[in-house]
């Protein structure tokens, strides 16, 4: 069935209170560190103080002699994951690498890399034991900067990595793990045909997802190998699969229970602690709880890439872009896998380009392995492209919004990476920006306005859902996606809409790995899309079953039963004159009409709609200090259908705030030995409440017809434009073009004082 007609919707699109809300505002909700088990031990992890070093020896004697220490673990307790088993199901990560990331083998590759672990009867004894574990290292030269790591004589992280995607195949190992390339048309001809060509270089620093909840888990392995894991993650099935593969256990032996999760943004789509806790629990025979400190989170879990992006744009005087070439170099960290490919694709996807080429390099360096961070890869690439488009607009003396309108993707545009767009709302975001009250508001001295656009493809994938009609007519919906942003409320809305019952009578539950079928992780902005599709289908199957039961009760054919407003009706006068039956009335008779009323669905959702957005940012610059104040911000996004508008707005506002932090003050600061100097919230500067204005959101709904309610993923695309929006606003306010992130006060003041190249308009 299709529920694309908004006017026919009763519940979807309203703003009820989320079903897990009271627990969250009263402190009752259980997050990863909140559970205990009888006999529980506390685990702590010993980490490398060096950015690159050979592990010479590890001695546990003194630690084991400390009363209260019950187990120690090192690489010796883990078996390598063989290359042919490096992938599991459709999960994206290389588990051979992840195993080595969870516990170093032979070499440590970044400061913070785990080398050993201990479990003890109290946190303070575990801490003391860590100090007693003696590790000898042979320090090796390290490399951090992405271009330094690409140099032929750079210190090599892995001598088994040869650059993929390059012909002829290289014979020497390299820190460049792969090169990717996408192209359309003839770029050289396009540049020749241009009236104006500009070439610019942009850089970004590594930034962290900075979720407020550190990683935490509680793992209990019994003597027969049956295991229970309680942890916060973006996917309990991922936790189960990855732990099984890294620890050499059957998947069925592990029950992974999803705790409430205190933020992830992609950073919790992999695991760091569970395999270590598993081994400690196995060896000690007791449950083991490990909670990361904030310092460990910053040092040892994946920030996103720092990068260099070069952009070359050619255009006619009338504003039509004739050619675009981008080269992206992204840090991968200690193991391959930066999101450079997404960076290449997404930054150009906003435009209709006749000729384009984008090349990306994935580069190893001695810092923590990169983890996904909200629209991974796209914000970096778009910072560069959206800034360069702005520079182009100023050179051409064309309004930046108009330039995007001229060159923006439309229905039928073929993107550089291949797909042809249908049902997209990009031009509508431009129209809404043009019509916005924000754009009409005049600016004062030292104030400027910046525009930037963004794209994210969003994901589909595997989801399972079950819909159970309980004996009293209330409904339980079980699905498999950790709720990081309020998705449970949307699931309940969709199910209640389909069933025609009050929102409050549907209870959504995030089931553990034994309670529901396989579901891919929460990420890629896929839960409302794919999970929503699954719960909708499950609810529809339940309706079909309810109609069948009504037919049995009335002794008529099921085809003669209609479902409307939460009740079964005879379909027309010929079917019979029966009083309508509610869920409660049908469910009360379930045993007599065939048994329990449940419907389960397993899908691999296809047809996810991409997300497009345009942002407007006003800043005020203090020219004497380089301080930037965000005065006003409007995010305009094609959201498909806002199932629960408050949570869609929330995703937009949260992405904007992260992008502003990335633009202005967030960065990893390393010393000359490759050690992180700012592993805490004091000097890793995320925006605080007084840094931000209200964030205005305009939701445009171009429904995605491949989803029953028209939903598109909304969570990631809002982080894509803010860095460029802020940079463009600073350029508008001061004439200074900042091409290196973050645009912190010392950097901006230095640029103001040095009077960097003025804008063409000046």
């Amino acid at each position: 069935m299709s529920y694309l007609d908004k006017s026919a919707l009763r519940l979807v699109g309203t703003r009820p209170i989320r079903p897990d809300g009271v627990d969250k505002v009263t402190g009752r909700a259980n997050f990863g560190a909140d559970m205990t088990m009888p006999g529980m031990l506390w685990g702590k992890i010993k980490r490398s103080p060096h950015a690159h070093a050979r592990i010479v020896s590890i001695n546990f004697d003194k630690a084991l002699a400390l009363p209260g220490v019950k187990a120690v673990v090192s690489r010796a307790d883990f078996t390598d994951v063989p290359p042919e088993k490096a992938h599991i199901g459709a999960a994206p990560h290389n588990l051979r690498d992840l195993s080595l990331n969870c516990m170093a083998k032979g070499k440590v590759l970044y400061e913070g890399h785990a080398v050993a672990a201990v479990a003890a009867t109290s946190p303070s004894i575990a801490e003391q034991a860590l100090d007693l574990i003696e590790v000898a290292y042979e320090v090796l030269p390290h490399v951090m900067d992405v271009e330094a790591a690409m140099a032929p004589d750079a210190p090599l992280l892995h001598d088994t990595v040869f650059t993929a995607g390059v012909e002829p195949k290289p014979t020497k190992p390299s820190n460049v793990t792969k090169m990717v390339r996408f192209a359309k048309g003839d770029v050289e001809a396009g540049f020749k045909a241009a009236d104006i060509v500009i070439e610019r270089r942009y850089t970004t620093k590594p930034v962290h997802q900075a979720y407020i909840e550190p990683h935490a888990c509680l793992v209990s392995v019994a003597a027969d190998g049956q295991c229970t894991i309680f942890s916060s993650s973006q996917g309990q099935f991922m936790v189960r699969a990855y732990t099984s593969r890294i620890c050499g256990a059957d998947i069925a032996s592990i029950r992974a229970i999803p705790a409430e999760i205190g933020g992830g943004f992609g950073g919790k789509t992999i695991i760091y602690l569970e395999p270590v806790a598993y081994m400690l629990s196995k060896k000690s025979g007791r449950p083991v709880k490990i909670v990361m400190s904030r310092e460990e989170v910053f040092r040892a879990t994946g920030p996103t890439s720092g990068a260099v992006v070069e952009v070359k744009l050619g255009a006619k005087k009338d504003g039509h872009i004739t050619a675009a070439r981008t080269v992206l170099k992204y840090q991968a960290g200690a193991f391959p896998g930066s999101p450079v490919q997404q960076g290449c694709i997404c930054s150009l996807a906003v435009y209709d380009l006749p000729n384009a080429e984008t090349i990306g390099y994935d580069v190893l360096c001695n810092r923590a392995k990169v983890a996904a961070y909200r629209a991974p890869g796209a914000p970096i690439g778009s910072f560069a492209v959206e800034s360069c488009v702005d520079e182009l607009a100023r050179e051409l003396r064309i309004d930046p919004l108009k330039l995007r309108e001229i060159n923006g993707a439309n229905e039928g545009t073929k993107a550089v990476h291949g797909p042809t767009w249908v049902n997209i709302g990009y031009q509508k975001t431009i129209d809404a920006a043009k019509a916005s009250e924000h754009l009409k508001t005049p600016l004062g001295p030292n104030q400027g306005r910046g525009i930037a656009s963004g794209y994210w493809h969003n994901a589909g994938g595997e989801s399972s859902a079950a819909c159970h009609v309980n004996e009293d007519g209330t409904v339980t919906v079980t699905e498999g996606h950790p709720d990081i942003g309020g998705s449970r409320a949307s699931m309940a809305l969709m199910v209640a809409e389909v069933l025609g019952v009050p929102f409050e009578s549907v209870r959504p539950v995030v089931g553990d790995t034994t309670a529901i079928g396989f579901s891919a992780s929460t990420g890629g902005s896929r839960v409302t899309f794919a999970g929503g599709m699954a719960v909708t289908q499950a609810a529809e199957k339940a309706v079909a079953e309810l109609k069948k039961r009504a037919a049995v009760i009335w002794d008529i054919s099921p085809e003669a039963v209609e479902w409307k407003d939460g009740k079964a009706y005879p379909a027309g006068p010929n079917a019979g004159s029966f009083e309508p039956l509610s869920l409660a009335e049908i469910a009360g008779k379930a045993a007599r009409t065939g048994g329990p009323i449940s419907a389960e669905v397993q899908i691999n959702a296809q047809g996810q709609g991409p997300g497009f957005t345009t942002h407007i940012c006003d800043v005020e610059v203090d020219r004497e200090t380089g301080s930037v104040k965000i005065l006003r911000y409007t995010a305009i996004q094609d959201v498909g259908r806002a199932i629960h508008p408050s949570y869609v707005e929330g995703q937009m506002q949260g992405g904007v705030a992260q992008g502003i932090g990335w633009a202005l003050n967030e960065e990893y600061v390393y010393d000359k030995d490759g050690r992180l100097e700012n592993p805490g919230f004091l000097d890793y500067r995320v925006p605080v409440a007084s840094d931000m204005p209200m964030i205005d959101t305009i939701m445009i709904e171009v429904p995605n017809p491949r989803h029953p309610f028209g939903a598109r993923g909304v969570g990631e695309v809002p982080i894509v434009p803010p860095m460029a929006a802020v940079a463009n606003a600073i350029a508008d306010a001061t004439g200074i073009r900042m091409r290196d992130l973050p645009m912190s006060p010392p950097r901006l003041l230095a640029a103001l004082d040095a009077e960097q190249p003025r804008l063409a308009a000046e």
């Binding site: 004497e624 380089g626 301080s627 500067r685 007084s690 912190s744 006060p745």
Partner: protein, 290 residues
């Protein structure tokens, strides 16, 4: 955190004895907002913590003759709420108020802020600019010293084993005397000062400065009393010329470092900017205190 012993004495003598007699490192606990952070990071590993908060006179603000007395362990919220102190020394109060978040304000104290020895401490420049003294208790009895003599380097104080700051004494301000404190941070809150500047001025009826103290923070190993900056102000009104000379004097007094919070060039430049801005506020406040 590593294991530690804790005691909360109820007399100054007992506190002195506990600190002096400790075989290993003993640390004073006031608000705890620096000490606990440093214990957790491993920067300090005391064997004994001596809690000041039960000592008489350590928490509270009172007037005594021509002085205002602020107990060393008085938390920021109590200082900000004190109307008498806020009227007399708005610069001291705003310096204290800038230390950390509302939560930190619930605990942090001037003595703690001072004795932590950070060059970037927010309460210290205005307290020094007010010519405050610190009353120190120790095994040899009490002594009263200028506040600027306490901090000798980053993380270092002139306090001997067994000594701690009991209270601060500031002279009641004269007519047409007031102060101001400004700091620069990259965000709007929650950062350690990249530069801090306190200005305390006394004006005559015509608005001409007759006395001044300008103190910079975070631009040298300790707070800097900028004599040349005071000279730039004394005998002058705050006109363009005075502001230029004040800016230059402030910049010239800086001996900053480049670190994760700011560069040398940046700190020097901003020291001049803040000196000008803080002076403007101090002059305005002083003129209003006829």
């Amino acid at each position: 955190m590593p294991r530690v012993s804790y005691t909360a004495p109820t007399t100054i003598d007992d506190a002195v004895k506990a600190l002096a007699a400790s075989a290993g490192l003993a640390k004073v606990l006031s608000g705890g907002t620096d000490l606990l952070v440093q214990m957790k990071s491993g920067r300090t590993r005391p064997e004994l913590i001596v809690d000041m908060k039960k000592l008489p006179g350590l928490v509270g603000i009172r007037e005594e003759g021509d002085q205002i007395v602020i107990g060393g362990a008085t938390p920021g919220v109590m200082i900000s709420a004190d109307e008498m102190l806020t009227r007399a020394y708005p610069g001291i109060v705003e310096g204290v108020d800038l230390i950390g978040s509302t939560q930190i304000q619930g605990r942090a104290s001037i003595a703690g802020n001072l004795c932590n020895g950070s060059p970037a401490a927010d309460s210290v420049p205005p307290v020094i600019a007010a010519r405050a003294t610190a009353v120190v208790a120790g095994p040899n009895g009490r002594r009263e010293v200028p506040v600027e003599s306490i901090v000798t380097g980053p993380g270092q104080t002139s306090l001997q084993k067994g000594e701690f700051v009991v209270e601060f004494r500031v002279p009641k301000p004269k007519p047409r005397q007031s102060d101001a404190y400004l700091r620069f941070i990259p965000r709007t809150e929650m950062d350690i000062a990249v530069v801090g500047c306190a200005v305390n001025v006394t004006l005559d009826a015509s608005g001409t400065c007759t006395d001044a103290r300008v103190v910079l923070g975070a631009v040298a190993p300790t707070q800097v009393i900028v004599g040349e900056a005071a000279q730039a102000l004394i005998g002058h009104k705050l006109d363009e010329d005075t502001l230029k000379r004040l800016d230059a004097a402030a910049r010239a007094a800086c001996r900053p470092i480049t670190d994760k919070r700011g560069t040398i060039e940046y700190r020097i430049k901003v020291a001049g900017v803040l000196a000008r801005r803080a002076a403007a506020i101090a002059f305005e406040r002083a003129a209003a205190r006829a």
